[in-house]
Symmetry: C2
Subunit: 406 residues, 2 copies
Amino acid sequence: MKKIEGGICAAQGYRAAAIHCGVKAGSPAEKDDLALIVSECTAATAATFTNNRVKAAPLYVCMEHLENGIAQAIVANSGNANACAPGGMDNARRMATAAAKAAGIEENLVLVSSTGVIGQRLNIEAIESHMDALAAKLSDDASEAANRAIMTTDLVPKSAAYEFTCGGKTCRIGGIAKGSGMIHPNMGTMLCFITSDCAIDPSLLRTALQDVVAHTFNRISVDGDTSTNDTCVVMANGKADNELIDWKNEDYHVFYAALEAVALSLAKQIAADGEGASRLISCTVKHSRAEEYAERLAKAVIASSLVKAAMFGADANWGRVLCAMGYSKAPFRPEYVTIGFSSAAGSITVCEHGRGLEFDEDLAKKILVEKEVSIDVDIAEGDAEATAYGCDLTYDYVKINGDYRT
Amino acid sequence: MKKIEGGICAAQGYRAAAIHCGVKAGSPAEKDDLALIVSECTAATAATFTNNRVKAAPLYVCMEHLENGIAQAIVANSGNANACAPGGMDNARRMATAAAKAAGIEENLVLVSSTGVIGQRLNIEAIESHMDALAAKLSDDASEAANRAIMTTDLVPKSAAYEFTCGGKTCRIGGIAKGSGMIHPNMGTMLCFITSDCAIDPSLLRTALQDVVAHTFNRISVDGDTSTNDTCVVMANGKADNELIDWKNEDYHVFYAALEAVALSLAKQIAADGEGASRLISCTVKHSRAEEYAERLAKAVIASSLVKAAMFGADANWGRVLCAMGYSKAPFRPEYVTIGFSSAAGSITVCEHGRGLEFDEDLAKKILVEKEVSIDVDIAEGDAEATAYGCDLTYDYVKINGDYRT
């Protein structure tokens, strides 16, 4: 498996396009806000959605269109989430219809995604009137353009792609994602689109996606809020001409590893670009009795406002780490716990057997001011482990979210 | 029932004192850091503690000493939490022993509380050497001094007291509290001490406290973190000479109402003084099928970083309210939901049937810039309701917690 360029257009048979249509009144004309991704032929397609009880209209349209596990295009806008909005279902359907017409495919092969402000009517007319122009721009090097069109408060586009060999054929998989605030375990990214030219059975693709999402996107947390619009889609159109993967053979595991690599890379990019974040924080909990417990502990640490604020201040405040573990509801014995911090600048142990150690504060500071910092926890109880990803809590988070809507 | 002054010394037979003993090296000498509260005679006493798996040593000493439901004094320090600290249990016991000796009572009648930094050895020698001087200062007008001695990042002392009639006698109840960060549902205050001169059976006092805490302190949230040290103690020494309350008669309900009034007042004072907070936010969810669901919904709204940041920006972002309800796991139908905001400046409805309304943005701004703002949610399903209390998320929260330890 090797890392390649190309994002959502890295695999054979996918084209993308982006355009400014003015979904959000007054948005600058240079900011594209509508993206289209189209496969040359129909593709096995799977998706996971937010488990928030309040779901945006486009999610219901996607669920409907994915009943048979087949799709061919994704249309997505930023600037308006089409959630809790007047005429939401109608407008989500109109968006699919317009994209289908422009791309010359069936309506039920189109998936729809929206991100942005909640509760305001989607300007569907602006979307419809720009759809033909959008389709005319489809090309195989527009991954970044599509990526930028779905960004909201994201500072950087997020993409990843890999090449791998499956049944003797060269296959590719790549994706783009957006997401910055409102990000939390349980379908953690706002929008993530992945495409592959591998041939795989739709139901097996669904299984792979669900497993991968549980280990990647559902382990990131920016601020504890789970959005109404979170969506992760993977399409596999079979253009690589490998033998169809229809059981969990070696080819499946190769594909799975590639899908996981793309998803993990995108998940970490999202965490690092958390609203206002100055550094990527990961927490690995080792030697738990069960992966589920390790995951719960790691997530509690990553999601704690006090830990996040301490990381912003480059403060080796392990007491807050232990405290967050304590209210996670996962079993562990405080008196067995070892806690350390590590980064490119080195590593340091600050707590052993649940008690503070004397440590070199200068070294701790050096470790904690790096761009990527790991909180290393050992609970000395078993063999399972898990890692969760997040970011620090900064002044800018408050600034961004104190006045986003107006 | 009428509001009175006097805090922890409002009821008959209680004295308090405070002193600077230097628990935290380098703390300014004008800041008292050790408090003592003593009842003239033994008192029926109940307490609730944090449900964090990591509990500070003083909590175990309190649990031990409260097995029979009787106590006579509370000794508390700020500057060091004595949690995850070397020699924690020994030092917590030494603190009880010193206070008992100075107050001339049995050691197992003394409750111990600590608040401050986690993981560092408690300077018990400083506490012991100042205990006699502390006891010598005991007086019946030192409630505020004791209150200030247990403050950490609190900006203001928090106290409340009421007078009520029970079995024909005038009874009093009053309390003090500290708590600002690390405050969340499930034993929400860090430290809260309440005293009454009412005569009540210890086991009935415990029942009353548990019910009251569930409706007050457990409904506040500042930042989602549950401390290792949270403690709420109530003592009732019988000095009012009312007939002993030993069943749930009318007197019990009168006492319960007074205890609830003190606890609710203290809980709201804690929420309003949340670290960095600029306003008190409450969320009331009405017409739920069950109080438990209403509580879960209200707490999710109050605890959402996105809602809290919107409140800081005085932004009527009801989409975030609905989104937080959606991930609370409590049942409700989005399409039945009405959301409004109210304060001293008026009230406004911004969402009906789960859909946004056109509303007067200027009026909304006027309502949301007040010091106390209520988020009013109606889910149109049943008769139960609940209110949760919190505060906004500000730049100062990040500042305070980015560099608290060093």
